[in-house]
């Protein structure tokens, strides 16, 4: 199954020379002997290559802010950006007060030509006033789009003036689509402002229960977070906030009161995780709630962190019960999936996280990659000091926080921290590459051409990626599983999620549809009978 350097070179040689040189650095053949294989990532997209990437606005408004249900999110721009981030990402939310749940709304300043020419600040101010008058939200966000930065609208000033006018937070995000090279810039921009303006904004000093935690980088796609929370609550954890699936401004304000931060999606939220540690002394633990083993290991690591005997016992009890319950449910699906191979190309985290779950149902991941992850997501956080910020990303602001004089508190002693770090991934993420088998392919910013070429070469049984790829893959007669939207199914996280995932993947293989692709007349000659030497039957 392994791909050779020669085969890879043959693919790359079809590119123009400049492209060839560039793409070579974004593709690795995993080789465990060679330690620390370096991949190039988080660099600009090649024009015309047919990338899967989106923009900073998508990363900020679409991914991080959008799920916060009790804030009205205003898009300052022409209508498209707001429209395409309206309900298309399945970050579920419910609210005890439905009049403060704005999930099904899309608010845009709908900039017109005159706003481009004369500036859109006045219109933005009016839209904010209107939103306050109609919705009375707890807080408002304003997200910038491409033209906003170019025409020089000062959205921060407009937001500040609106705050004093209305006496409620109005947060401005300069997430113009052209910033950085992908969605990733948007995550960073969102993280900075949420940290600066929301987290810690409440007067609460302690959490309302035992083992208080935050779940970071979990967006409740298809109810993922709810399934994880179900288990955590049963074990006895108090969930202070989730960033940001089914999240709210009101909860997020209390995030400083947690004793531990769990990081599911490292790429999108590691900035806040780090800043929480610096500012409040709260360590973070890399978890993976995808897959049975991932779930078990994450739960055990959490229990190890708190070190409480009762908690450890309860953790084991819940694990044993859940595993006993779901194993028989998954078993029939394993029979269908066993021995198959997958490609797993997703945004900035799932490309890694689903490999364990695939393996548990008998599917080996032979190619994986990310659209917009950075080197640390591939190679592990130890490479961060060696990452050079290039010209395209250097304009993304870095927020520097310092220990909060009143609230900073070491949650565990330095000695204990060192001891724990030997056992569990505290403030550390090892990256995707380390878990991949030798000979498998790791691709950054996989494009359409490479998708087709690698499929020809490796002939995977299933391709996990997104909506833009899905129908391309299916036309080839290969099942395609969306790992952004879950094909409108889910949850896929946690114990129940593993069963759902196994069921859905099996359905993809077992569907009778694949048998009908070749029409019967293509397998049978039109005229049957024998032909004699003269050509006459």
């Amino acid at each position: 199954m392994a791909v050779t350097e020669k085969e890879l070179q043959e693919i790359l040689e079809q590119y123009p020379s400049k492209v060839q040189k560039n793409r070579k650095k974004h593709i690795l053949i995993k080789d465990g002997v060679e330690d620390a294989q370096v991949i190039e990532a988080n660099t600009r997209t090649i024009p015309g290559i047919i990338t899967n990437r989106g923009c900073a606005y998508a990363g900020c408004k679409g991914v991080v802010l959008g799920p916060l249900k009790d804030m009205v999110h205003i898009t300052h721009g022409p209508i498209g950006c707001g429209f395409y981030t309206w309900g298309a990402r399945r970050n579920k939310a419910k609210s005890d007060d439905p009049t403060q749940n704005f999930m099904n709304y899309c608010v845009s300043t709908d900039m017109q030509e005159s706003d481009i020419v004369f500036g859109g600040e006045k219109k933005l101010a009016k839209v904010i006033d209107e939103v306050v008058a109609i919705f009375h939200p707890h807080a408002i966000t304003v997200s910038a789009t491409c033209p906003v930065g170019l025409i020089g609208d000062d959205i921060a000033a407009v937001a500040k003036a609106a705050e004093s006018r209305h006496g409620l937070p109005v947060l401005a995000f300069s997430c113009e689509g052209y910033k950085g090279v992908s969605q990733s810039a948007g995550h960073h921009i969102a993280n900075n402002i949420l940290m600066d303006r929301v987290i810690g904004a409440s007067s609460a000093e302690t959490a309302p229960g035992k083992y208080p935690i935050n779940i970071l980088g979990e967006y409740n796609i298809g109810g993922d977070s709810w399934e994880v929370e179900r288990v955590l609550k049963e074990i006895g954890y108090t969930i202070v906030s989730v960033m940001t699936g089914d999240g709210s401004y009101e909860e997020l304000k209390n995030a400083h009161t947690a004793e531990l931060n769990l990081v599911q999606c490292h790429r999108s939220i590691n900035y806040i995780a780090e800043m929480l540690e610096t500012k409040y002394g709260t360590p973070w633990l890399k978890v993976n709630f995808i897959g049975i083993q991932g779930m078990i290991e994450s739960l055990r690591n959490m229990a190890t962190y708190f070190g409480d005997e009762e908690l450890i016992a309860k953790t084991e009890e819940v694990i044993a019960r859940e595993v006993a319950r779901i194993e028989p449910l998954i078993e029939p699906y394993r029979k269908i999936c066993q021995g198959k191979t997958a490609f797993c190309f997703v945004g900035g985290s799932r490309g890694h996280h689903y490999q364990g779950l695939f393996a548990e149902i008998g599917i080996e991941t032979v190619l994986a990659g990310y659209e917009f992850a950075h080197r640390d997501d591939y190679e592990g956080r130890q490479v961060i000091p060696t990452i050079k910020t290039d010209a395209d990303s250097k304009n993304i602001p870095e927020l520097h926080v310092s220990p909060d004089e009143r609230r900073f508190r070491l949650k565990v002693s330095p000695e204990k921290m060192e001891e724990l770090k030997q056992k569990i991934p505290l403030s550390y993420y090892a990256g995707m590459n380390v878990t991949m088998k030798d000979g498998s392919i790791i691709v950054d910013d996989l494009n359409h051409f490479e998708t087709e070429e690698f499929i020809k070469l490796l002939k995977p049984d299933i391709f996990a990626s997104g909506i833009k790829d899905k129908y391309v893959i299916q036309k080839m007669g290969i099942p395609a599983k969306q790992l952004h939207s879950y094909d409108y199914s889910g949850p896929y996280a946690g114990f129940n999620g593993a069963v759902n995932f196994a069921r859905d993947v099996s359905m993809g293989f077992a569907s009778p549809t694949w048998n009908f692709i070749v029409p019967p007349w293509k397998d049978e000659p039109l005229l049957t009978g024998t032909v004699n030497e003269e050509g006459v039957a």
Binding site: P16, G48, C55, I74, F83, K123, D129, G177, K468, M476
Partner: protein, 462 residues
């Protein structure tokens, strides 16, 4: 559902939109460009737009929607995207080998003022390949405007008048409709015995068959040769004023092909008008096959009139589709009481005419009074319904929130439909499309009647 929308209706004057009934130009341009055979649409802007547009087209059609992008960075946004476009053109032709690249712009590139024609002239374009373009600023009009602009771009770059006498053929500009509709319009022309050139034509592209092979450029689409030859046609029929009339007008100026603007042929009257236009221009009798279909449609309308007569309906969507739907529900005896498009309406007397005037002109003879709005949004539409409930909503998928909130059946028509399948394969245009619409409308109303009926009122025969 939508619990934050108050019943009390207040005029909003900020110019902002809550729950849009439109999206931005480039997706329409991308869709139009996919209606050219062996064409790769190219989005000249930052890559987020291109991904969003491809995603939404893929969700609506459940098909691949290929397009490339210039992938702007901040540097290009400040200093211009010439290098990005040049690189993109080279890469696209080398790697993806289309015959045509159709470039459209975004709010980014329009704001910085990239001069696309000059950039194209300076680019290396392989022998025999074509790059066309359209300016599609997202801050003007809507996705329908983008479709119109790209269609105009096709005429601009490709159409040529080369024959001394115009050929006995008609240009059909179908407007922003589904491949299934395009197939049906072509079929009607064929049955009429009239040779047609349809552009753009996404049939065979965005409803391509499953063969076990992915084809980057499927069999469908208007060929460059056909679009060139459109300059030699005897007549252009622009179906849907907002999507199609600009291109038809340009073709008339550039190649002296007379243009007739008709409604999108939804329902009996607009389909009659299309066939009459073909009959007149090409002296072709309407064959029995179409007369039979029409008679079947009238038969169905008569048989089932009591299912929908007098029912109040709210319609929203793209202006050409909403106009056609309004006319059709009026011919069914229904009362369209809330009619809204997100696309700005065009001032009275402008080339585009006025959506609101068009609708009012149809409502008046029917004695129906209604809320009518161009450039409106679904927040307004919902508030109208809260104040004056309807029996049925006709619109795209985004209507499902209102339908649920107010417990009103929804018939999905238009773009985008993201939560049902098959819709893009089957027509809503022509007599056949009208039959399908009746099936959907009366099905929705009767399912509702069945659901709501007391056991003793539950009917076997309806």
């Amino acid at each position: 559902m939508l619990d934050c929308t108050p019943k009390e209706y207040k005029e909003r004057n900020s110019g902002g939109v809550i729950n849009p009934a439109k999206t931005c130009q480039p997706i329409g341009a991308m869709y139009a460009a996919l209606g050219i055979h062996r064409c790769l649409p190219h989005s000249h802007g930052s890559q987020g737009c291109c991904s969003f547009h491809r995603m939404h087209l893929s969700r609506h059609f459940r098909e691949p929607a290929m397009a490339s992008t210039s992938s702007f960075t901040e540097g290009a946004s400040v200093f211009g995207g010439g290098a990005n476009l040049k690189t993109a053109i080279k890469n696209v032709f080398t790697i993806y080998k289309p015959d045509v690249m159709a470039v459209h712009t975004t709010c980014l590139t329009e704001t910085i003022g990239d001069d696309i024609p000059s950039l194209i002239k300076a680019a290396e374009i392989p022998e025999g390949k074509v790059v066309i373009h359209a300016n599609t600023p997202s801050y003007q009009g809507s996705h329908v405007t983008g479709f119109s602009n790209m269609t105009k771009g096709m005429v601009n770059y490709l159409a040529e008048a080369t024959t001394p006498l115009k050929k006995e053929q008609v240009n059909l500009i179908p407007g922003f409709v589904n491949p299934g509709d395009m197939r049906e319009i072509k079929r009607m022309a064929r049955v009429m015995g009239v040779t047609s050139i349809m552009f753009p034509d996404t049939s065979g592209v965005l409803d391509s068959p499953m063969t076990g092979k992915f084809t980057m450029y499927p069999k469908g689409g208007a060929t460059v040769a056909q679009i060139k030859d459109s300059g030699n046609s005897k007549l252009t029929l622009a179906l849907g004023r907002f999507a199609s009339s600009d291109a038809a007008e340009l073709l008339s100026k550039k190649c002296q092909v007379p243009a007739t603007v008709l409604k999108t042929p939804i329902g009996i009257k607009a389909t009659d008008a299309l066939l009459m236009a073909l009959r007149r221009a090409f002296s072709q009798e309407v064959p029995y096959e179409l007369e039979e279909e029409r008679g079947q449609l009238v038969d169905i309308m008569t048989d089932t009139h009591f299912h929908f007569h007098g029912k109040q309906v709210g319609i929203f969507g793209d202006p050409d589709i909403v106009t056609g739907m309004t006319e059709f529900v009026l011919s069914l005896g229904m009362k369209p009481v809330h009619i809204l498009t997100g696309t700005p309406g065009g001032a009275v007397g402008s080339g585009l005419g006025s959506f609101e005037e068009d609708i009012k002109a149809m409502l008046e003879p029917a004695g129906v009074t209604a809320n009518v709005k161009a450039g409106g949004d679904l927040f307004t539409f919902h508030q109208w319904i809260k104040n004056e409930p309807v029996d049925l909503i006709i619109g795209n998928t985004y209507g499902k929130f209102i339908a649920r909130a107010e417990d009103i059946p929804l018939v999905r028509v238009g773009f985008p439909i993201l939560d049902r399948s098959v819709h893009s394969y089957l027509p809503i245009v022509g007599y056949r499309g009208a039959m399908r619409l009746i099936e959907k409308i009366s099905g929705a109303l009767l399912d509702r009647a069945d659901r709501d009926a007391a056991d003793e009122d539950f009917e076997l025969v309806m």
